[in-house]
Amino acid sequence: MNRRSILKATGTITAAAAAVAAFPRLVFAAYSEKAFKNPKVEDSLNELFGANATTPSGDVKLKAPDIAENGAVVPIEVTTSMKADKIAFMVKENPNPLAIVAEIPEGTEATVKTRVRMGKTTQVTAVVSSNGKLYTASKEVKVTIGGCGG
């Protein structure tokens, strides 16, 4: 890598926080307390999608590590060829499983990548909402604690 390239690529133009008013069309995904502060996966799904019946699908490609290097920073990624309108990640045994929900407008690809915290070994599930149905892919991610590095 060119040693200067990162800095140049990140040389973004800053808009001061106060100037957010300059983007009157700013639309946020509308964080929902009911969906996020909820210990039950089913209830969160109901809140987000109005339904909680899910079907595992081979077309929901979830990428997550077998063993998390560090539970505070677990890289996860989901991709699907389905036409999705929303994508969510659940971490089953976190106090509140729902970690993120993304809205995918027309013209945006059905893929989301982020980093999540995991308190302990548990299942990570990606939920894709497509044509009024929910499709999932799950994977168990081991979280180990202790040792020299962790």
Partner: protein, 101 residues
């Protein structure tokens, strides 16, 4: 300096976006040195706009890692601008704009 870093690259009509937002993302579970709980403080919403159109929005829980990372892709072109903004649970917001390469 903005809290938001953006890398946006177009390839074959698809714009790959990677963004890192500097934010402590306090879970509300951590304690400070005196044993007092640090109140939760986290980004709840993120939105991305390009060409006068919302191209991506997401809502976060406190379980998203410190300095949240988000990557997504949308149909767009070189030279267009891309604006990413966040809002946290205290009502604070930040915004940054970049030109798609």
């Amino acid at each position: 300096m903005s809290s938001i870093r953006i890398k946006a690259k177009e390839r074959k009509g698809s714009v790959n976006v990677k963004t890192l937002m500097k934010h402590n993302m306090e879970t509300g579970l951590r304690k400070d040195k005196s044993g007092k709980k640090i109140p939760e403080h986290w980004i709840t919403d993120v939105t991305a706009e390009s060409g006068g159109k919302v191209v991506f929005t997401a809502a976060f829980n406190t379980s998203i890692s410190k300095d949240p990372y988000l990557a997504f892709a949308f149909a767009g072109k070189k030279g267009d601008s891309l604006t990413i903004s966040w809002k946290d649970n205290t009502g604070a917001t930040d915004s940054a704009e970049t030109v798609i390469k």
